[in-house]
């Protein structure tokens, strides 16, 4: 198991390295940063000075080294639009994204697990059909459109909920549902099929023959064993949520990292895009690593392999 974990850690570091290379190369490819930064009246001499000051006259390996070491210290340069360090802005917006993601995870767990479990237990009933219909639908509904539909229904027609921005607890409800929707569909489907596999097993039959109460059979005997694939997938969903948050934040004007980066695209604010891409990628890769370690721990086949 140590070997497995070590391998995954090394791989995550390599992934992060690849991300940094991609970011570095793409931004360099985009043209001369001086052209954006220098005022139009700058003289030839000024531009040369600026180039030397920014280190743009050095070989690109040196430039990459600077870029990487600064990035590790959280220095991504000044935002062109806000005239403030990009990392500071990222740190400010981070909380909003985590709040939204957290609520979505809660919704996903609170809805998908019980419905998935009972859809399997009462297979073939109305509940099962509704759950399966929802799962199929959930994966075909584009999240940005679902968000607008919710705005239309709950904001415009019913005037029940605020549809934009952040502030009261009510503000987070619609974005939370939109973000969680897709994941609910996926996890519900998986929980259902994992439970179906387990419910047919001998030990569940035995538990029933022993006369244990149904609730105990379902949750203590069956669900515990169905949980392994569910755990892996739940973590994948977290990663999908990170991707989805960019879309949902844009729809609802939720002031998180996703909105920050999309606004930065419009104003071509490179430092912010760099900072957000690097930070979110780190989070993404970190979660992936954590999931694999957790999976290795939960799965005896890996845990006991040398």
């Amino acid at each position: 198991m140590q070997r497995f974990i070590l391998g995954r850690v090394v791989q995550s570091i390599v992934s992060m390295f690849v991300v940094s290379i991609v970011v570095f190369t793409l931004v360099r490819l985009s043209g001369d940063p001086i052209a954006i930064m220098a005022p139009p009246e700058a003289s030839e001499e000024d531009i040369k000075l600026m180039r030397a000051y920014l280190g743009l006259d050095r070989p690109w390996t040196t430039q990459y080294w600077w870029f990487a070491t600064r990035a590790l210290q959280g220095d991504f340069g000044q935002s062109i639009r806000f005239r403030r360090p990009a990392f500071e802005l990222v740190a400010e917006r981070y909380g909003a994204t985590v709040e939204l993601g957290g609520l979505a995870v809660l919704i996903v767990i609170a809805v998908a697990l019980p419905v998935g479990v009972y859809a399997a237990v009462r297979r073939g009933t109305t509940l099962d059909y509704i759950a399966r219909g929802f799962a199929a639908l959930g994966q075909a509904v584009p999240p940005f459109w679902l968000g607008l539909l919710l705005v239309l229904v709950f904001g415009v027609l019913l005037h029940l909920l605020p549809t934009s921005g952040r502030g009261t607890p009510l503000h987070v409800i619609l974005p939370g549902i939109t973000l969680g929707w897709f994941a609910v569909a996926g996890l519900m489907r998986l929980t259902r099929s994992a439970m179906l596999d387990v419910l047919g097993s001998e030990y569940v039959k035995l538990a029933r023959i022993k006369g244990l109460p149904e609730r105990q059979v379902i949750w203590k005997h069956a669900f515990k064993n169905a949980a392994l694939p569910v755990v892996t997938f739940a973590a994948l969903l977290f990663v999908a949520l990170l991707n989805g948050s960019i879309i949902v934040e844009t729809v609802f004007g939720w002031p998180g990292l996703g909105l920050l980066v999309i606004e930065a695209v419009d104003s071509r604010d490179y430092p912010i895009v760099q900072a957000v891409v690097m930070c979110l990628s780190a989070m993404y890769i970190g979660v992936n690593l954590l999931v694999d370690v957790l999976y290795a721990y939960l799965n005896p086949k890996i845990r006991y392999s040398s």
């Binding site: 694939p229 960019i246 999309i262 419009d266």
Partner: protein
């Protein structure tokens, strides 16, 4: 590791009774056929230009509502452009992105998987590590990065599609190649003096095709949603091109006065993707029941 692909990968759904699977499900088939017809014959089918509107007809609601303008069945947007015409042309974009994107992805990912499986050794290790790394990079962020560096474009969308999906093809093809390599006809081809390249492309590739095709059909719906999402965010197909995602985005600020601008293209996406997913499942069950467990 994106949700849609992962969700498809883990679905050992054991239905109580399997319905007759010889014929494709009718409704989804009709919807997808209609979509393809719209995409191919868009210029002849659409009643108006998708790009030019008349300002006199701005924000007309669909037929049946009050103040509807005759001739604009599904209403118009804020530039007076006909929604129906834009929807029909949008089908073109969706189809183009999925066909070009998935063909390229299948070719690139398939080739890499083929090399890994056929050659083995350190080449295999290296390529499969590359697959793992690629899976751990966030796709939408790459799209954002591309569009801030270059202008948003069709090419960017294709790059993102290839980037996100090639690992699944590489994994699938490598696994299949490993199995096919063991078979007798490959050994015989070798004895007959065929070169490595001949064996790969003449003897192995044809045997890989069914699985690749199945995976490709399962991906079409996902790619359509991806394109729409990127275009909606302003990092995909640039406006005024009538991509469905662009249309939803166009109507965002007008959701109170003119719901149809955003809601109708969303319904188009939903119906298309749902149909494609159902058809994809059918193709998978018909062609390659093995894949159900992959």
């Amino acid at each position: 590791m994106n949700g849609a692909v992962a969700a498809d990968a883990v679905e050992p759904d054991v239905a109580p009774r399997r319905p007759d699977r010889r014929w494709p499900p009718l409704v989804p088939l009709v919807i997808v056929t209609a979509l393809v017809v719209c995409a191919v014959f868009a210029p002849w089918l659409s009643p108006h230009s998708p790009l030019e509107g008349s300002l006199g007809d701005r924000l007309a609601p669909p037929i049946g509502a009050e103040n509807a303008k005759p001739g604009h069945w599904l209403g118009t947007d804020r530039h007076g452009r006909d929604t129906l015409s834009r929807l029909v042309h949008g089908a073109r974009i969706s189809l183009a992105v999925s066909v070009v994107g998935i063909t390229l992805t299948g070719a690139v990912g398939g080739f890499i998987g083929l090399l890994a499986g056929f050659i083995g050794g350190w080449v295999e290790t290296l390529l499969m590590r590359l697959v793992d790394i690629s899976l751990s990079l966030p796709g939408i962020l790459i799209a954002v990065l591309l569009s801030v560096v270059f202008e948003p474009s069709f090419t960017n969308v294709i790059i993102v599609v290839v980037f996100l999906l090639w690992p699944s093809y590489a994994r699938l093809v490598r696994g299949e190649t490993l199995a096919i390599k063991q078979q007798e006809f490959v050994a015989l081809a070798r004895v007959a003096g065929c070169s490595g390249a001949t064996i790969m492309f003449r003897h192995i590739v044809p045997n890989l095709m069914p699985s690749i095709l199945v995976l490709a059909t399962l991906h079409v719906g996902y790619v359509i949603v991806l394109e729409a999402a990127l275009s909606f965010l302003g990092v995909g197909i640039p406006p005024p091109t009538p991509s469905w995602g662009v249309m939803v985005s166009d109507g965002r600020g007008l959701i109170e006065q003119a719901w149809w601008i955003s809601i109708l293209p969303g319904i188009a996406i939903l119906a298309t993707v749902l149909s494609l997913n159902i058809l994809g499942d059918w193709v998978r069950d018909r062609l390659d029941p093995k894949l159900r467990q992959v």
